[in-house]
Amino acid sequence: MSAVLDVKDLQVSFHTRNGVVRAVDKVSLKVEAGQTVGIVGESGSGKSVTCYSLLGLIPSPPGKIEGGSAMFGGMDLLKLPEKELQKVRGSRISMIFQDPMTSLNPFLKIGTQLVEPLRLHKGMDKAAAWKQGIEALKEVGIPEAATRMDQYPHEFSGGMRQRVMIAMALITRPELLIADEPTTALDVTIQQQVLDLIKDLQKRLGIAVVFITHDLAVVHEVCDVVNVMYAGRLVESAPAAELFAHPRHAYTRALMRSIPALQKKGEPLYTIPGLPPDLSHLPAGCSFRPRQTPDRQLLCLRDQRPPLVEVSPGHWAQACPGCVEGGILS
């Protein structure tokens, strides 16, 4: 299988008044055709910035891509001029967003917004695009699609709007879909519907998906490969089954312990102590050290950044002696 997207050493920083914030620091990830790749992490771990920067969507200034490459269909997305990037966005790479309540323009008809990518990228005329829009709405399970096309966003529920967003993202049949926490703002039952929909469409259309989330339960359900991010860096990367069976990095294990369903009833819920570090003043060594237990902290790297090493075939983790359990392979 060939990689649809191959990101190498991506570095993104934000130049703010309070100093340089290294939001993404040498992140590499690969997305194979038809695969779902998860990026997991807390708020501010750089998972969204990673994906936004691939499409040139980070606000610049203050945001700046400092280095790395992102190969997609023989092009380096990071070096593409804006004009070329506009042709890729919405036609070969699409995106869906977290909050369906604000991701549709309240003044335009659903149909008008839905067929926008078709008119823009495929140059279709209005009637043909409209017809395909109705099909697209049916595809995502919206009843009475033809009537719904003529309605406005405020006449849709949150789950319905997210379905519209998915239909809009997939209407041009892109090769890659980036889903930025698509279920976070939805009710639990609607979450399940939307996840099933994404999974189903992915299987049918054979697209690759990058799934950004902080919800490990969601990751477990949809992802083939999982990348765990912390403080702008990858701390662990492995096939989903392997990661859930043998989490190696202390942060990944802590995240798993925080899943409410896995805890004993009646006991207080587990939370990871401390806060993610300030990205403008990162400690020199292991960035998870301040949140480790004291005896572990002693073992953590202090003077250099722990490198990402292959701890077992296909399973990569940050090789900090204090954080990696079960020893380092090489």
Partner: protein, 314 residues
């Protein structure tokens, strides 16, 4: 009575929601429905339309020429009849001014000028202000800073001195007055639009539009500007009376409309000098002017309530 429980798989397959069998109602249509329920605004709107019609059609109906003087009938009270050269008799409904001209016809002609100034200058302010403010707000960063500092500088310019400067340089003309008023009024408009756009640019649908590959110009035109139109319309209806007031002030000071042309400002000026002897010369133009301003303000208020997103759905 038995309730049918939803099947277990309805959690994973979308249940067909009851969909109203009608085409969607846009936020504009909602606002229009709300506006129609506001009786005061509707009445004021009707009165405004009536005043506009009176001003633009009226002069043909009264039969008087607003510039024909009749020194025999100087400052005669409302209802004075005049015998024309062909022997017929016609009444001056609202009397005549100090040169014996028909006051009603002059008010209508003056209204044409005042309303035109109000609308044209507001239109100019609207075009410049919206384009400028939207660009500054959306582009942000350094571009925004430079653009808004320019606005600040223009703001600091005293308006009267600016107008006096223009009139001494280019002479007194109507065109100049349009330019002067338009040049001042767009500043506030651009600030309002910029603030709105800054809020909008952070909304996800703008990100979504960018992620679909739309260019900046298209995003501004299709996604940003329609969303700021609500506040803009409200501000515009409140700008019209402000502009008319400015015009009246300029004309009152002798910097605006020049005789024999009239505007409501010059008519009120004339009336004010003669109010001790012939009070109708002040009362009638002032009445027309204030009713118009009142109505514009009430319509503006009504529009603000109708377009206010907070009073709407969601």
């Amino acid at each position: 009575m038995s309730t049918v429980l939803p099947a277990a798989d309805s959690l994973t397959t979308p249940s067909p929601l009851p969909v109203p069998a009608r085409a969607g109602r846009s936020l504009w249509q909602d606002a229009w429905a709300r506006l129609r329920k506001n009786h005061l605004a509707v009445v004021c709107g009707v009165v405004l339309i009536a005043i506009v019609l009176i001003c633009f059609i009226g002069p043909f109906l009264t039969g008087w020429n607003p510039e024909t003087t009749n020194l025999a009938l100087k400052a005669s009270p409302p209802g004075t009849a005049e015998t024309l050269t062909d022997g017929s008799v016609r009444t001056h409904l609202l009397g005549t001014d100090t040169l014996g001209r028909d006051l009603l016809t002059r008010i209508m002609r003056g209204g044409q000028v005042s309303l035109m100034v109000g609308m044209v200058a507001t239109g100019v302010a609207l075009l410049i202000g919206v384009a400028y403010g939207a660009a500054a707000g959306y582009l942000g960063g350094r571009t925004d800073a430079v653009m808004m500092r320019a606005v600040d500088v223009l703001y600091a310019l005293p308006f009267m001195i600016f107008v006096i400067l223009l009139t001494t340089m280019f002479g007194k003309s109507m065109l100049l007055m349009y330019i002067a008023i338009g040049a001042v009024e767009w500043l506030t408009m651009s600030r309002i639009v910029r603030a709105q756009v800054q809020g909008l640019a952070r909304q996800e649908f703008v990100d979504a539009a960018r992620s679909l590959g739309l260019s900046t110009a298209v995003i501004l035109r299709r996604h940003i500007i329609p969303n700021v139109l609500g506040p803009v319309i409200v501000y515009a209806t409140l700008t019209v009376p402000a502009v008319m007031l400015l015009e009246a002030a300029l004309s009152f000071l002798g910097l605006g409309v020049q005789p024999p042309d009239s505007s409501w400002g010059t008519l009120i000026d004339d009336g004010a000098t003669n109010m001790e002897t012939s009070v109708w010369l002040l009362a009638w133009p002032a009445a027309f002017f204030s009713v118009t301003l009142f109505c514009l303000n009430f319509v503006g208020d009504g529009l603000r309530d109708a377009l206010d997103v907070r009073s709407g759905k969601d």
